[in-house]
Symmetry: C2
């Protein structure tokens, strides 16, 4: 499939799958028969081993060992142990990463901590830069933080990645960027952008929700200051599994969290009445974590640690490139507009197209066994999860999309009606 | 057992259990054989039905229905539906309560929201009152919040409940109290204390961690302003199951959360770039919740909604009174000092004694099948969970304590060594 103009056949896709060294991973996921699941960038599939893990946590650890599990079954260490594993996956150092809370709460901690470092170093800097197209909660959280501290901070939003330089001036304290955009799939070069941010005197907070587990991440190598992200997308942690928080080692001697809970205390069970931060990233823990979700999450994470992230990236790019080529060669008569970068170095692991009837088209696709998702406005989003998808899945998905569009299946009344969540 | 001086026999306890109308509830919990579990105030026991619920959430909802579960299996509504149930249990109105995050994070939201209401009404009030003996995380969180907003707030700690009035002056903005003290078991009269707080012009934030599910709570009747609490103690929600947040209806037109995440947005999936708070308590949601923990938690909560909370309270008091009488009549030669109020109206659902060798005594007790816990300093803490304990359990526990003390079993070297978490 090296000739970009030649038609691609399903047989070629089958052949590519037979030669895929990662193809064996799929059998370790409990994917239903008869569907193509292209929404692993929203909720990753269930690793088969997670079923037994969850049952064991409930029946043995909770039911039989009860309170003793905090020591015996290492619940106490879970946010740290899992945090270390995530830290390794994103290229951080020891003691810098914890698994905890939600991405939104962790964005709050990270931006707040970054602001306070700047209050010591460059107190006149009171602008936070982000992208208008960032995932909305990141922007909302910054708004809420600014209103809370009420000290003249403002949010400066850039309209496109190429506008970053123009936004970086001597007022900027912090830049909050999402490595892979949730809608377009645009991928920042983290190292290059962080260099520019640092050159302008600002700190860099990276949201890794749509990159971790699908794109190799190297926070320390990139010189990032803080990173947060979720584990229920490409890491297959389970619905709403706890998020993570990473801080660069160089900040640990003076970085402060705004959410000074007992789990971030140096000695949480000494029950002293004054707060004293724990060493390392542990100070960014707050309250007691949801153990069923946390423990079950580790199964998907462990699979990722077994897999070469560069090989996963190569497969991801092969599949997203295939997706784009198939749509553009086989569906060219339909009003589908690619909004994902064609340049591989700028692409995460999902592919998005605008279509004027995007919402109905996606509902029709789902009804026909191809599960992607819809994002406002008009965007069909297809997550291409290299852990459990192959070339044939992509071929079949595009073929179903062709049928939905050619036969105008999306016009059926049941596909016009809006669900609560899309 | 009405004569407070007569010796109590195990036979009398067995008789009392036979007459206990709530005795049938115990069979619905998966408690191991051969132990007496007196730590339900730290981690509630496993409801048998929670095993199937957790398995169903993992295999069917996550594994088979995948992303469609947000609508099909009502994940979207879970924090609201469960919040409504908790709201009913604590005597709140519709739309005022959500299940979300951790108690620590919710204390941050509640105190911050209360401070901001006062900034509008009485901006000169910059003192937050709490108890030195409050659960430490509540105090740590307030410290962190004050440092973050950095506007001259201070924390005024009272040393004993009777010192509240003296601490209430025209500087006080917010009073943060825990209804049942985690160590002593002291129970505040919420209505009476809230009246005094309001009379002094302050707002009342109540932490219900150690009361909800064991003591009837009536937040609206008491006139409380905010309440938070956890679900993994007397509500048997599972380890680290999400906490809850309640706000009085009268504040809803102008109350603000500091953690403005997308789940608290009026239209979370519209993906607009400006924050607009949802109506009702829903604005206190932040990020995506841990669904395995959240869904499993509902099983224990539903059991509580079936049970008459007043009957549960009567049984709780019968058991804690029995515990105290047995210790004081049968173990009087040992240096055990009751730190829990003798007055029933001031007592939650656990009983605590100081003992100079408290840590080793508790480890020896646990090794002999009686699971309570230890809290600094020197405190043996016994949670008396009326949902699944009976009079005979209390008799057996005290008898084991007698043996541990009479035979000095606690002197064994293995009981001197400290665990990571106690």
């Amino acid at each position: 499939m090296t000739d970009a103009t030649a038609p691609i056949t399903r047989e070629q896709c089958e052949e590519a799958d037979r030669n895929d060294p990662l193809a064996g991973l799929r059998a370790r996921f409990a994917l239903p028969e008869g569907i193509v699941y292209l929404d692993g960038n929203s909720l990753g599939a269930l690793p088969r081993d997670a079923v037994a893990r969850a049952a064991d946590v409930v029946s043995r650890e909770w039911g039989a060992d009860l309170i003793g599990s905090w020591n015996k079954n290492h619940w106490f260490a879970l946010p740290l142990r899992i945090g270390e594993k995530i830290g390794r996956l994103i290229g951080g150092g020891a003691g810098e990463c914890v698994a905890t809370d939600t991405t939104s709460v962790n964005v709050f901690k990270a931006v707040s901590a970054a602001i306070r470092l700047q209050q010591q170093d460059a107190p006149a800097r009171r602008v936070i830069v982000s992208e208008r197209e960032n995932f909305p909660t990141d922007l909302y959280i910054v708004e809420g933080l600014m209103a809370l501290i009420d000290r003249g901070y403002s949010l400066r939003l850039i309209d496109a990645p190429e506008d970053l330089d123009a936004a970086l001036d001597e007022d900027v304290a912090v830049v909050l960027l999402t490595q892979v955009n949730y809608r377009t799939g645009h991928l920042w070069d983290m190292r290059e952008a962080t260099d520019r941010i640092h050159a302008a005197g600002a700190l860099a907070v990276w949201d890794l929700c749509h990159s971790v587990g699908a794109v190799p991440v190297a926070v320390a190598d990139a010189g990032a200051d803080f990173a947060v992200g979720c584990t229920y997308k490409y890491l297959n942690g389970g619905p709403g599994s706890p998020a993570f928080f990473w801080v660069a080692e160089r900040h640990l001697d003076r970085v402060e969290t705004p959410l000074t809970g007992w789990w971030g205390h140096d000695r949480p069970f000494a029950m002293t009445d004054a707060y004293a931060p724990a060493p390392g990233g542990r100070r960014f823990l707050v309250g007691t974590q949801p153990i069923l979700s946390m423990a079950t999450m580790e199964v998907g994470l462990d699979m990722h640690l077994e897999v070469d992230q560069e090989a996963l990236r190569r497969k991801s790019l092969a599949l997203t490139t295939l997706f784009i080529r198939l749509v553009e060669t086989r569906l060219s008569r339909h009003p589908l507009t690619l909004i994902t970068p064609r340049e591989e170095a700028q692409r995460g692991s999902h592919v998005s197209f605008r279509h004027p009837e995007g919402y109905a088209v996606m509902k029709a696709l789902i009804a026909n066994g191809v599960i992607g998702d819809y994002r406002e406005p008009e965007v069909l989003r297809f997550g291409v999860t290299p852990m459990y998808l192959g070339h044939t899945d992509v071929w079949d998905a595009v073929e179903t999309l062709r049928r939905v569009l050619d036969e105008e299946l999306w016009r059926a009344p049941e596909f016009q009606e809006r669900d609560a969540v899309t």
